[in-house]
């Protein structure tokens, strides 16, 4: 919608007209982009939503555990963007590591000081995921995410060696 001032006043001024067209164009582009993003499920959406379904709010930061756990479920459709290199001592996904780093940066995942041994997702962060990433998934997909979460939960546990 146009700003009220542009609706009321009849402008014949070229500059104002240009501004108005430009404003409408940008506004339409923004709306289209919002729609596009709303339907686009990204790797970060998938991982944060899987973590949402973990019952434990704290889990291991250990690379081997994290990558090993997700490697087990790598063939699930929702995880198709993640490829795991198997040349090292354990399967390792660069994308998964990047996503964890983005979760840290954006504050969706905490890391407890001083020993950095555990990742934490607190209630506030779970709510953010629920409102954001999780809302992009269909009910069917949510069931799939929950089932993946159930599989990896044990592997990510702090007590699992």
């Amino acid at each position: 919608m146009l700003p009220p001032i542009l609706q009321i006043v009849q402008f014949d001024n070229t500059i104002i007209n240009k501004l108005r067209i430009s404003w409408i164009g940008v506004s339409v582009s923004l709306q289209l982009l919002k729609e596009e993003m709303k339907n686009d499920i990204t790797p970060l959406d998938v991982i944060s939503s899987i973590l949402f379904y973990l019952e434990e709010y704290e889990f291991s930061t250990n690379y081997e555990k994290i990558h090993g756990a997700f490697f087990k479920v790598k063939d699930r459709e929702l995880l198709k963007e993640f490829n795991f290199l198997t040349s090292g001592p354990y399967p390792y996904s660069e994308l998964l590591e990047n996503v964890f780093s983005r979760l840290n940066i954006s504050g969706l995942l905490g890391c407890r000081n001083p020993d950095f041994e555990r990742f934490t997702i607190e209630e506030k962060q779970r709510k953010r995921i629920e409102k954001g990433a999780l809302s992009k998934f269909s009910e069917e997909q949510k069931k799939e995410l929950a089932s993946i979460s159930k599989i990896i939960r044990k592997d990510l546990s702090l007590s699992t060696k």
Binding site: K18, L19, S22, W23, G25, V26, S29, L30, L33, K34, E36, M37, D40, T42, P43, L44, D45, S48, T61, N62, Y63, E64, E81, N83, F84, L85, T86, S87, G88, P89, Y90, P91, Y92, E94, L95, E97, N98, F100, S101, R102, L103, N104, I105, S106, G107, L108, C111, D115, F116, E117, R128, G132, A133
Partner: protein, 483 residues
Amino acid sequence: MSLDNNLAEYADELLKDYEVRYIDRKKIIRDAVFGTHELSPLEVNIIDLPFVQRLRGIHQTALACLTYPSATHNRFEHSLGVSIMATKMGKSLRVDKKTMDEIRVAGLLHDIGHGPFSHASEDVVKEFPEIHDALNSTPSLFSREKPHEMIGYKLLQTNAYQTLFEDLFKHYKSDIELRNIYSMIVGKMPKKTEQYKADVINSPFDADKLDYLVRDAHFTGIKMSIDIERFFATQLIDTREGKTQRIISDMGGVHILEQILFNKMLLFPSIYNHHKVRAAVCTIKSLFEIIKDKNLKINELQFDKVTDFLSIDDCFFLSAKGKPKKLGNQIKKIKERNLLKRALVISKRTVESEEGLDKLLNLRDRPDILRKIAKIIANDGELKGKCEYYDIWIDLPDAPRFPEPSQCVVKITDEHYENLDYFLPVAEWSRSFATNKWRGYVFGPSKLQLTVNRVSQKVFEDLFNLKFNDHATILAKISSYAS
């Protein structure tokens, strides 16, 4: 066309008139970082190959030389350096002659898959469908982030390259196996008992990393210290029964491994993710974007397939002469160091609340959407007509990854072995350091820093409900001349 066919066609064309010179004398070269190094006649022929010589024209650290004036070292020097490091590692591991020959050659060839400006063009290449297809067909072998390894691996399997190397090996009576060379490049040997050979070239603490850390620090002038000789003295082959024979470290090497990691940790914000270096990377990417958008052809190249990137080096793009105007203008900006400037700094500390930051970071894997946002910023009424969309970039580099400590085994006694992270949680420290030091940027033309700052804040708030604090602007150090 598939990547394999594409590369085969390229290799046939490249080598159809190539005549090997069959040099019969060894050569002694002097490396600025590691000193004197001897190359066998076979190795001299290998470095003389056109696809190895091309590496002389590819800056190791892309346009970091615009920030660090002496960082003009190239992939050719680095490849020699990796070969030197591999030799030292091979000696300390007491490998046999054939393995020594193979790791030396693998060092020379490990970067032949790089395009101009090294990792800067790799960002473009990794989005090509043929790369995605190749990655999906063998997901456990190839790095998603480093397609140059896959390209090098596949190039060496083309008929033209295989014939060339077979002739070379035969002429010099060498028992080198080409399949071992390309396996080393991707870090995985066919046999578990030979994995240590690939570890020399591509593993957590490989010859590649040793060279690039020391070389990049040397040429940028950043002070750094790694006790390399001690590192070599503490590396072993894991000979435990039933285990993959990897390179592991003796207890005495633990603090050297930590040195390597801490240096990697410090070099990232200083060099690779330095805001000016990132701005230059964005300008390089804009060159490829202009070619694509305007459907340009430069010397018959459209840069819409991998092999177009293998046909040229940096120099191709560092001259505006004969290039279409739009492209020429961007090149001129690089030549005159008229780089883009930070207009907004994005980090954990520059946002009012972290809510919304995840939505923006979500787009790291969606470069096309990030470009659409840049277009919206450029088309805003305040900026329209004042700047080009090619001059607005939202840059969200990935934080460095530190999987090394969990991937490296340390031998305590003949019976006791632990991962490096048992001794110190270096990985977690590094991860925490990286995420806290991480910064993304919105870049724009220097004269419009303030406007780009204002418009991008408005757009981010609208799209992600993401609000920034004053530090997002203060840290951008906006020029007093900017509007």
